[in-house]
Every structure is written in C-alpha cells, then in structure tokens.
C-alpha cells in the first residue's frame, strides 16, 4: 500500500511575467526515491523551495504529510538540503550541526550520528570554511539527516563530490530508502537517478512534462540495425514489421520490436541481399529520454495542456 506524502496541485511561482514554476502537480509516495529532473533554470529548486516553505507560491497548493509547507510539524519530519549547504563558516562542522540540533531540540548525540553517517566524524572539529566542496555537501546531507526525518528533500546532493563520494552518496540514499525514509532529490546525474530512483518527474521551463517510473519513462527495448544499403533495409523491415516501428538513428535503424524478433529480422535482411553489419538489443537510457523531452526549443510544442505525461 502506498500513500502520497508530497502532493502539489497546480503549484505556480511567478516573478513578474515570468513563470518560474507553472502549474506543477506532482506526488511523492512514502518510501520511494523520487528523482526531480530538469535542465538548469527549469524550476527544480524553486519548486523545492516552495515545498520547504522558503518561498510562497503565487498560486496552487502543496502539502507534505497533509500539512502546508513550513508547518513546524512538517519541518520536524523533513530533512532539507537546498541549493548548496548554508552554514556558519567560522564554526566547525560539528558546531554547525549542534546549532541546528538545538533548533530542532535534539540531543548532541544526534550530531555525532549524522557526522558518522556521512563520513565526516574525523573532520567534525575543522572549521566549515576549510572544507572542500564535497565535504561541505556531505555536511549539508548530515544536517538533513538530523533527527532521522521521514522525508529528505535533497537538491543536487552529489554536487561537488568525487566519484567515490558520489557512489557513497548513492549507497546512503538507497540505504535510507531501504530503512523506510522517503527521498525526493533533484539531480543532473541522470545515470545516478536511473540507478536509484523509483519514480521521476521531469520539469522543463517551469512545467512538469512527465512523471512516471524510471522503467516506464525509458520505454521498452528495441533493436538496433546497421545494414547497407540502409534505405532498402528500412523498406524491407517496414514491410515486414510495419512502418511505425522503424526509425532512423544516425547511420543505423532503430526497430521498436521485441528483441525476440532478432533472428527473423536478420533472416529477412540477409534473404533480401542486404549486408548486415550489426544487430543489437537497444535500451534507451534515462539520459536519452531526458534530452528528447527537454530539447524542444519551442515551449508551445511540448505539451498542449498543463497535464504532465503520466505513464503510471
């Protein structure tokens, strides 16, 4: 059984004439890792700021655990890292967390636990200003973990981390999800999102243009055919499988059929006297899907309405 813990309904933020976030309706379910994707300036951070009560929406509503953003009870159940960590530069990492734990009315051992979880315990006494970008980011995540919140809202949590740090962060997020936490994260690392997220929302120019499971968004598998002459191969396959399933991808053909049809495809091409150079299973990455969705230059072409493309 799932329940929606974050729900937005036509959430909108306008700055003058410009709609930074335009009628976004999304849901995050309990226990899932939700990836929030979009190009720079698409409205991800503004949406997350509205969800944490830092920014007031122009119109529309958002609820977390059934309450309005910024509500004390909601904030106590939510850990937040928005657009880079904000800490006192002259304080040590440990003291920065102690300040926040006092705000949350937690014991100091919560600080040690959070530092330990992000691997900063041995550097906890160093001043924040001396931290590397990656360490600052990890301290930001540690702050979000204070008090073991039910929901983590993380804006680009792997920003500035080295590959090992990214892998650790991924493990941490998966571990948190496994232990019952819900995570909503925005990221530019599409491979990372593909790996750890259950569902994703894609935002572009302020509009939510898709919301679905990662698997559904990537779509089914297809066959990649590299043959010569290509045009004749395309005609043969279109006659065999239908015109709609054959598409040109660079110097090859993408055939949207089950990989089980590979022997049949090979046979018909060879029988037709076409030279077959490559026949492979093709799976769209989330990155392919993302770029296809967000590369439209004309906003009016993307969606006819504000309803996102729902695949689940």
């Amino acid at each position: 059984m799932t329940s929606d813990i974050v729900v937005t309904d036509r959430l909108t933020k306008r700055y003058g004439e410009h709609a930074a976030v335009d009628a976004v309706s999304l849901t995050v379910r309990a226990g899932e890792v939700y990836g929030f994707l979009g190009p720079n300036g698409a409205g991800k951070t503004t949406t997350l700021r509205m969800l944490t009560g830092l920014v007031r929406p122009t119109s529309g509503t958002a609820t977390l655990f059934g309450c309005a953003p910024g509500d004390g009870a909601v904030a106590a159940r939510t850990g937040v890292l928005i657009e880079g960590p904000g800490f006192f530069p002259y304080l040590s990492g440990r003291d920065n967390l102690r300040v926040l734990s006092r705000c949350r009315r937690l014991q100091d051992d919560a600080v040690e636990s959070a530092l330990h979880r992000v691997g900063l315990r041995h550097r906890g006494h160093d001043r924040f200003r001396t931290y590397s970008l990656g360490m600052k980011q990890r301290l930001g995540v540690a702050a979000a973990l204070l008090g073991e919140p039910d929901l983590l809202i993380l804006d680009e949590p792997t920003n500035g981390l080295d590959p090992a740090g990214m892998a650790e962060m991924r493990e941490l997020i998966v571990e948190l999800a496994d232990s019952g936490h819900s995570v909503m994260l925005s990221s530019h690392m599409l491979s990372e999102v593909q790996e750890i997220c259950d569902r994703v929302g894609v935002i572009s120019r302020g509009e939510l243009i898709a919301q679905s499971t990662v698997a559904e968004l990537r779509g089914g598998t297809s066959l990649l055919v590299r043959a010569d002459p290509r045009e004749r191969a395309a005609a043969v396959l279109a006659e065999l499988l239908g015109r709609d399933v054959v598409d040109t991808v660079g110097d090859a053909l993408a055939v949207a059929v089950s990989p089980e049809l590979a022997p049949k495809v090979a046979r018909v091409l060879v029988d037709a006297g076409i030279d077959l150079y490559e026949l492979s299973r093709r799976e769209r990455s989330l990155e392919d899907v993302f770029f296809a969705m967000t590369s439209d230059s004309n906003p009016g072409d993307r969606t006819a309405s504000n309803e996102p493309r729902r695949m689940s």
Binding site: R49, T52, G53, L54, V55, R56, G70, G72, A75, A76, T78, V80, I82, E83, G84, P85, G86, F87, F88, P89, Y90, L91, D95, R98, V99, L100, R102, C103, R104, R105, A143
Partner: protein
C-alpha cells in the same frame, strides 16, 4: 515558547564562537576606556585640553573619573560609538545569515521564522546585558585604580544610581542593536546594512539635528529620532558641568527618552519579524 528558547540557545552557541562579535565588543570596551578615562586623565595630568576631553576644570575632570561617577560616565560613549558598534553587530548577525545561506538552513529546521528570529533577538539582548555589565565592572575597576593613584576616596556609586545607569545602558544598546537587526533584514546582506546604518548614526541624524536648529518645525521629528532619544537618556544621567561628550544630548528628559527608546526597540523587533516572515528566502 520552547521554540524561542531553543532558537535562543542555538543562536547563543553560534554567537559565542563568532570572532567578529568579540572584536566588536572588545572595540567597544577599549573605546570606552580611551574616551571616558584615558583622554580625560591625560588632560587632567597635563592641564591641557583636547577636543575629546571635557573642558571642565581639573577637579571636575577628576571627579568624573572616580568610582562614584561611573553611573554618570559609562553611558556617555553609548550614544555615539557604542551605538554604532552595536548597530554593526545587529546588522552583521542578521545580514551575514543571508550571505552564508544560514537563514535558509535555520528556517527549515522546524521552529517558525518568528520563533527563530525571536531567539536571535533574545540572544543579542543577552549579549547586550553581558556587555553593559562588563563595561560597568571595567569602569568601576579603572576608576578605583585612578582614585588610588590620585589618593581620592574610592566610594562606590549608590546602588540605585548604578541600577538606573545599567538599565539605561541596556536600553540604549538594545535599541541600536535592534536597529541593526532591522537594517540587516531590510538589506539582506552585511555590507549594505552596515553601511546604511553607520551613515544614519554618524551622519544623517546629526545633519537633521543641525537642520532642526534652524527650522523649528523639523525638530518635531528630530527630537524623537533614535539617536536623539539615546543621547538624551545618556545626558539625563549626567549632572557634571562642562562640555558633554559628542552625541550626549539634553533634548528629551529621562522618562520621555526611556519611552521613546522602548518604542523603538519594540518597533524594530516587530518590524524585523514581520519583514522576514512575509518575504521569500532565496
């Protein structure tokens, strides 16, 4: 209320470890000693005059430096440089949080913005109280040494006079600190808020009082400016002859000054909370 106490504890922790705050407080104490005791003592010993020392006769100068005079003299510097330094502290406390992004972090921890800001204001009030008590103790100590060196009686001031002076000092500095907090919230950054605050304290108010000396109608406003009220309260504690310290005024009487200053403290604090609550945090 618990959220306010939690916010106060959090803010005190970070203020206690903030080098900038200690620099400002130390500067205050040093300036106080220099202007209240050092210049006057040099003038007294050399028999000369300086712009910063009172032109009072030597016996009056010495009387100002004795322990019994501490209630009258230790608020003198508060009206000018003390107020400016505390305004800087208030402005930096709020304004820097926008630059560092710490308000964004604090406002997502659970306590409401009002509670978090009330905690900050209470923490700053604690600093003000601590500073005033420290300055009073330092002044009594220095005055006792001067009395011993000059073979004068080292009688401590009357408790009632000392309490009145302490309360007045706290009110003056609380007002300037709250003013700095409001300017910091308005400017949402440390540099602009400090600059604007100092221009107001050191330039604008003096210019306006200058205009009021020529145009009576302007005095309706200038008589109730923050600096006028602070200077008047400091002036009301003083009964020595001779020139007053710059910034120390005799425009309002003591009780009116107290009322005006209390109104400013309340208005600045409420204005800050109102402003921060209604604005987005980016």
């Amino acid at each position: 209320m618990n959220a306010v106490i939690a916010g106060t504890r959090a803010e005190l922790l970070r203020l206690r470890k903030w080098p900038s705050m200690w620099v400002l407080l130390a500067a205050w104490i040093v300036l106080n000693l220099v202007f209240v005791y050092l210049f006057n003592y040099i003038t007294f010993k050399t028999g000369g005059t300086t712009d910063m020392a009172s032109s009072a006769p030597p016996d009056v100068l010495l009387a100002q430096m004795l322990p019994s005079a501490v209630p009258q003299v230790f608020t003198q510097g508060m009206a000018m440089f003390g107020g400016a330094l505390m305004l800087i502290l208030g402005a930096l406390t709020i304004g820097s949080g926008y630059g560092w992004g710490t308000w964004k972090t604090v406002f997502t921890q659970g306590p409401s913005r009002s509670a978090a800001l009330a905690g900050t204001l209470l923490a700053l009030l604690t600093v003000v109280i601590g500073l005033v008590l420290t300055v009073a103790a330092v002044d009594v100590g220095v005055a006792t040494v001067i009395a011993a060196v000059e073979s004068e009686p080292a009688n401590l001031p009357a408790a009632s006079a000392m309490l009145k002076a302490l309360a007045s000092g706290m009110l003056i500095l609380a007002m300037w600190t709250a003013a700095g907090v409001l300017v910091g919230a308005l400017a949402r950054g440390p540099a602009l808020s400090v600059g604007l605050g100092l221009v107001w304290v050191l330039v604008v108010e003096n210019l306006l009082r200058g205009v009021a000396a020529v145009l009576d109608t302007v005095s309706v406003v200038t008589d109730f400016l923050p600096g006028t009220a602070a200077g008047s309260l400091a002036g009301s504690l003083r009964d020595f002859g001779g020139d007053t310290t710059p910034g120390v005024l005799n425009i309002l009487d003591g009780s009116t000054s107290v009322l005006v200053l209390a109104a400013y403290v309340a208005a600045f604090a409420a204005g800050t909370i109102w402003l921060v609550r209604r604005r987005d945090v980016n």
